[in-house]
C-alpha cells in the first residue's frame, strides 16, 4: 500500500499533466466554435475525399453494366418517343398548350458514399444546391427508387436511402392502382414491405409496384415486384414483401428529381391540415 502511494506521489505530475491536457482539449473542443467545427468536419473532409477517390476507382469496374443499363434506358425512352409520335395527329403538334406545365426536373448525380447494412442508411451524392439539388428532392435510378435528399450542401448532398427506418414512400400496385406505404423492416437490403393495403384489395404475387401520385417521385416509376402477399387471420391489411428491381448496394449513377410543384402541393396540404 505504501508503495502504491509512493508510486502515485512520484508520478503525480504525469497524471496531473494528462488530466489537465484532457481538460484543455475539452475546453478547446466544446467552447471554441472554430475548433469544434474542425473537429467535426476534418473527419468528413478526409473521408469525403477518400470516398470520392474510391468511387472514382470503383466506377471503372461497373462501366460495362452501366453502359448496358443506359442503353436499355435509351431504348425504352426512344420507344416512348416513337410511340408518342405515332399516336399524335399532325394537327395537334402545333397547338400551343398553355395548361401544360413541366413538373419534374432531373439532374444526373453520382453516389460517392453509401451503406445498406445499417438500420438507418444514408448516402452522399456529388451534387448540391449549386447544381440545383434541394432538400426533399427525390432520388431515383433507371430501375428503381433510391431515396430523398435530407440535406443539400453546396456541392454534395446527403440522401436518406429507402433502406432507412424513417423512410416512407407512397407506392401503388401498377395493375390495380391500389396505394400503400413502402417501408423497410431492416431484414434484407433487397426486400421491402408495403403497409396499409386493405385485405379486400386485389394483390397477386408478381404484381409490379410503382411510385404513386401521392409522393414527390415521378409518378409510375418502377420500384419492385411483389414476391409475397398474405393476410394474417384477424388482420385487416395485407403483409406484402417487395423485391426491389434495383440493387441499392451497387447504386452508382442516380437522378435527382426536383418536383417543381412541390411548394404548391405542400401549401395546399398544410391548408387542409389547418382547417
Amino acid at each position: 500500500m505504501q508503495n502504491l502511494f509512493a508510486f502515485f506521489y512520484r508520478y503525480a505530475f504525469v497524471f496531473l499533466f494528462l488530466i489537465f491536457e484532457f481538460i484543455s482539449i475539452r475546453f478547446i473542443v466544446s467552447r471554441n466554435a472554430n475548433q469544434r467545427e474542425i473537429f467535426l468536419n476534418s473527419s468528413s473532409i478526409i473521408s469525403g475525399g477518400l470516398f470520392d477517390r474510391a468511387s472514382r476507382i470503383k466506377k471503372y469496374f461497373g462501366l460495362q453494366e452501366v453502359n448496358l443499363q443506359l442503353a436499355e434506358e435509351n431504348a425504352s425512352l426512344k420507344a416512348k418517343i416513337d410511340n408518342l409520335r405515332s399516336h399524335t395527329p399532325d394537327a395537334l403538334d402545333s397547338i400551343r398548350d398553355t395548361v401544360y406545365r413541366q413538373r419534374f426536373v432531373l439532374h444526373p448525380a453520382q453516389v460517392i458514399n453509401n451503406s445498406v447494412e445499417l438500420r438507418n442508411n444514408m448516402m452522399t451524392i456529388d451534387k448540391g444546391s449549386a447544381d440545383g439539388v434541394f432538400k426533399y428532392a427525390t432520388v431515383i435510378e433507371p430501375l428503381g427508387i433510391v431515396g430523398f435528399v435530407t440535406h443539400a450542401g453546396n456541392h454534395y448532398s446527403s440522401v436518406m436511402s429507402i433502406l432507412n427506418s424513417n423512410s416512407r414512400v407512397s407506392a401503388m400496385i401498377k395493375r390495380t392502382m391500389t396505394r400503400g406505404n413502402l417501408v423497410w423492416t431492416g431484414t434484407s437490403p433487397t426486400i421491402l414491405n408495403v403497409e396499409a393495403i386493405p385485405k379486400h384489395a386485389d394483390v397477386k404475387v408478381g404484381d409490379t409496384l410503382v411510385t404513386s401520385s401521392f409522393s414527390h417521385f415521378p409518378i409510375g416509376h418502377p420500384i419492385g415486384e411483389i414476391v409475397n402477399a398474405l393476410v394474417e387471420p384477424g388482420e385487416n391489411f395485407y403483409i406484402i414483401e417487395v423485391r426491389l428491381f434495383n440493387d441499392l448496394s451497387r447504386t452508382n449513377f442516380v437522378y435527382v428529381v426536383n418536383d417543381l410543384h412541390k411548394n404548391e402541393i405542400d401549401s395546399l396540404t398544410t391548408l387542409n391540415n389547418l382547417k
Binding site: 504525469v14 496531473l16 489537465f20 481538460i23 484543455s24 471554441n32 476534418s42
Partner: protein, 172 residues
C-alpha cells in the same frame, strides 16, 4: 526561499500583464502575412526555481495558461501549451544539465548558467510551447505547414523578446 517566490510572483504579474495587455494588441502582419504572435508568458515557466515540485509546476502552468486564455478568448489553447512545457521542463533540464549540476543554482537563468546555456534552454522550451500552441489552435494535423510557419516566425520574434528581457532585467 521566500524572497525567490516573491520575486517569481512579481515576475508572473509583470509577464502576465505584458502578455495580455501589450503583446495581445501587437499585430505584426503585412497584408495576408499574419503568422506572428509573440509569446512571453512561457518565460515564467522557464524561470521558476529548479527545485520546485514537478506537480506544482504542472498545476501552475495550467492555471496561468487558462488565465491567458481568458484574455485571448480561446479557452484551453494556452492552457494546454503551458501545461505541456511545464510537464517537459524537468526532462529538458535534465538533458541539458551543465557540468556540476544545478547545485547553488536557484533559477535557470542567464545570470547563473551563462548565455549559451540559456539560449539553448529557452529555444527548446519556447519552440515546444509555440508548436503545441499552434497545433492546438489550428487543430488540424493535415495543416502542418501552416503550424510550422506560424511556429517559426513567432519563435523568432518571441526569442528576441525573451533575450531582451534577460539582458534588461537579468534575473538572479
Amino acid at each position: 526561499m521566500n524572497s525567490i517566490w516573491f520575486r517569481n510572483g512579481l515576475r508572473l504579474f509583470f509577464l502576465f500583464c505584458f502578455q495580455v495587455l501589450v503583446l495581445k494588441q501587437v499585430h505584426l502582419n503585412w497584408g495576408s502575412f499574419n503568422f506572428i504572435s509573440i509569446m512571453i508568458i512561457p518565460l515564467w515557466i522557464m524561470l521558476v526555481p529548479v527545485q520546485s515540485p514537478k506537480w506544482l509546476l504542472v498545476v501552475g502552468g495550467f492555471f496561468i495558461g487558462l488565465g491567458v486564455d481568458w484574455f485571448y478568448d480561446s479557452p484551453g489553447v494556452h492552457a494546454s501549451a503551458a501545461t505541456f512545457i511545464a510537464f517537459i521542463r524537468p526532462f529538458i533540464l535534465k538533458y541539458i544539465e551543465p557540468r556540476g549540476g544545478y547545485n547553488r543554482v536557484p533559477i535557470p537563468s542567464k545570470f547563473h548558467l551563462g548565455l549559451n546555456w540559456f539560449v539553448t534552454y529557452a529555444s527548446v522550451m519556447l519552440f515546444a510551447y509555440l508548436f503545441f500552441y499552434f497545433s492546438m489552435e489550428v487543430f488540424t494535423p493535415s495543416l502542418i505547414g501552416t503550424i510550422l510557419v506560424k511556429t517559426i516566425f513567432s519563435f523568432i520574434m518571441s526569442i528576441l523578446l525573451v533575450l531582451l528581457y534577460m539582458f534588461i532585467f537579468d534575473p538572479k
